[in-house]
């Protein structure tokens, strides 16, 4: 009897076979590289949290020189956009309920008179609080702009009374804030590295969710069962070709992010690539596991979308900070591979973090990758028997 060839030769043969499959379908291969680029470009332009445009309706009950001057000041920067004039509380309510404006500014009658008398004049901002985060950011912006206008008046008043020198002798504590890593506080810097991780994650699980289920459906799994292949050899043969495609995808999206969207790359490239490869093993392992367990392309794919899409978007820290989540959920987030890659992408690109700084994430990621591969191998053996 001929002896069994070495594992190395077996895995090499399996890899070759899988690569042949991939290269015989150039359309899918092209799609695998084009899709992440298109998605990143699309989302890169579309997605940001910046409060850049706040729609405002105005009810100017005073309609005086001062009220018009204040409004002109508020709308001059272009962040607040005057979309409607309203009158009456019912109109305010309707405007907000129909989302025609995010905010209604109300200047009460007698506004100018109070200002001229040196009393505190109050204006009202009726805010649609439904989107709490957007509301508080836009309210903060308006408050700042109103305070700035107020300070101008206050200085003028003090000067009129000959007291402007006094202002320098009143103690005050203030913050001198500086921002690191994203000096302009542009949300794009934050979302683009995140998008890279999400897009690669989604496609990774999709790619591998097919490969074994297809063999089950077409019956080509039978010869594999009859062959003397070990479970780990099969899993390696299935997983590795896709991991190389994934590394290609990561490279492409990183180049796009850095050269097109001007995201800085402050850390080490080898660390980034090694982290990416370990992440891909885990991410693709999920798809492979679903493929083995369900034995059906349809169900494996559907399950892959369910298991990867929303958790990657919501539990990875991509949109919502993990630090703000309840403890249980923070624990659950360790089961979402996008989380690891996200922290590596952001750490290496934005903060220039080194291996030591990212060690906990790297360790967890390797544990996850090993765990999911082991699970694939043991399930594979069971299914083959």
């Amino acid at each position: 009897m001929r002896s069994r060839p070495s594992s190395y030769r077996i895995v090499k043969a399996l890899l070759l076979k899988e690569y042949l499959h991939i290269f015989r379908d150039p359309r899918s291969l092209f799609a695998a590289f084009a899709i992440p680029l298109v998605l990143l470009t699309l989302f890169g332009y579309a997605i940001n949290f910046d409060v850049k445009r706040v729609t405002v309706a105005v009810w100017d009950q005073d309609s005086s020189a001062r009220s018009r001057d204040l409004l002109a000041h508020l709308f001059s920067a272009g962040t607040l956009v005057r979309v409607a004039e309203v009158q009456g509380n019912e109109a305010i309510d309707r405007t907000l309920r129909r989302a025609e404006a995010r905010m209604v500014l109300v200047i009460p009658p007698g506004f100018q008179r109070s200002l001229l008398r040196g009393e505190t004049a109050e204006i009202q901002a009726v805010v649609d609080g439904a989107d709490g985060s957007f509301a508080s950011l836009s309210l903060g912006y308006v408050q700042g702009a109103v305070a700035q206008y107020g300070r101008g008046i206050a200085t003028a008043n003090l000067r009129a009374r000959g007291l402007d020198e006094l202002a320098t002798r009143i103690p005050a504590i203030r913050l001198a804030p500086r921002t690191w890593f994203n000096e302009e506080l542009e949300s794009r810097r934050f979302t683009i590295p995140g998008l890279m991780a999400i897009i690669v994650m989604m496609l990774a699980a999709q790619l591998t969710s097919q490969c074994v289920a297809r063999e089950f459906e077409r019956g080509t799994i039978e010869p594999l069962i009859a062959s003397p292949l070990a479970g780990w050899e099969l899993v390696a043969g299935k997983l590795l070709p896709y991991v190389t495609i994934g590394v290609g995808q990561i490279t492409l999206v990183s180049v796009l992010a850095v050269f097109w969207f001007d995201v800085p790359f402050r850390g080490s490239i080898p660390l980034f690539v090694a982290g990416g490869a370990a992440f891909l093993v885990g991410a693709m392992g999920i798809g492979l596991l679903l493929s083995i367990v369900t034995r059906s392309q349809q169900i494996a794919q559907q399950a892959a979308v369910i298991v990867t899409m929303l958790p990657s978007l919501l539990l990875s820290g991509f949109i919502f900070p993990i630090a703000s989540m309840p403890v249980v959920l923070r624990a659950v987030s360790y089961g979402v591979p996008a989380r690891y890659f996200l922290s590596i992408v952001r750490g290496v690109m934005l903060r220039g973090a080194d291996t030591r700084a990212l060690l906990p994430d790297l360790l967890f990621m390797v544990v996850f990758a090993v765990g999911i591969t082991a699970l694939c191998i043991s399930r594979f053996k069971k299914e083959l028997r």
Binding site: V127, I170, F320, A323, V328
Partner: protein, 379 residues
Amino acid sequence: MNFSFRRLWAIARKELIQISRDRRMLPMIFASPVIQLTLLGYAASFDLANVRLAILDQDRTTLSRSLVDSIEHSGTFLITEIASPAQAEAGMIAGNTEAFLTIPSGFTGDVERGQSAALGLVLDGSDSNRAIATRATLDAIVVRQSAPLARIALREFGLESLALDPPLGLVPKIRFNPTLESRPFMIPGVLAMVLTIMTMILTAMAIVKEKEGGNIEQIAVTPIRASEWILGKLIPFIGIALIDVVLVTAVALLWFEIPLRGSFPLLVALSSVFITGTLGLGLLISTVSSTQQQAMLTALLMILPMNMLSGIFYPAENMPAVIRAFALLSPLRWYGIVIRSIFLKGSTFADLWDETLAMAAIGTLFLSIAIARTKRGFR
């Protein structure tokens, strides 16, 4: 031959039987939306919490301690006191520290001399909104600490009467969600996303599976019309998706206790218009694809942009005009407004008729194209 409701009904019944036979599908159809919303509902919050703040107190006076105490009392920060700036820098780069506050030595001395004293604050700007919110929270605390100091100084000058209040005040009045919590807004959004995903992956396979199995030729030679076949496929899924609507709404109402200010029947009615649109889009994808893999990938490539560009998480106002125009074709773009308005604002049909009309038009468009494509396949 004319459209026959009897044939339509027969197809719908056959589909329903077929779906209920596949035991693996049932947990996916009914359990996964509930599990997803329960889990993800907890994650979906922008509220500022657990900001990891390093404080370097070089002043070590009563005033500096009271400042640290008031920051601690805000409950927003996880404070670590550090001994050197290098420690904070390492923490910032590692991502363990999000903000770093320095109280310089001589801080109290400056204040006592009647001068302004600045606190050094370094923010990790990666997450820009979190950085902005952190800065605003700290700013408010510092201003609160600063105000009594100014009052004392004015008293010493004998100018108590001088109003320090700015001559202009902004009184915010917050409607619909007075605490500005993000959960009541986000949970209906997550609910809408869960429904989008479920409905689209259900129908994306429906037609292409028949193509791959070669059944489409057999159906083409029967008297069944394309419209009967497509609608027959659609009806059982509408039923299933409506059960999902009720299930996930129940999670939002009973588990997360999100107040429903509008009417429940209106919510279900408009949700059914929405799911008809997304199911229709799934069917359309299924008719234009030739393999299951293609169908699924196409569905994925529709779902991801729909979720990202429909204004559920990212404000639609910020998007370029071209993308905003494209998003108008996404049923989720309209449903996001509908579901949030009904939940948070108690909107009625009078407020939402145009969104409803848009969803109905989009759904009709998708279904008509799907039927037209199938008709061509039948010939």
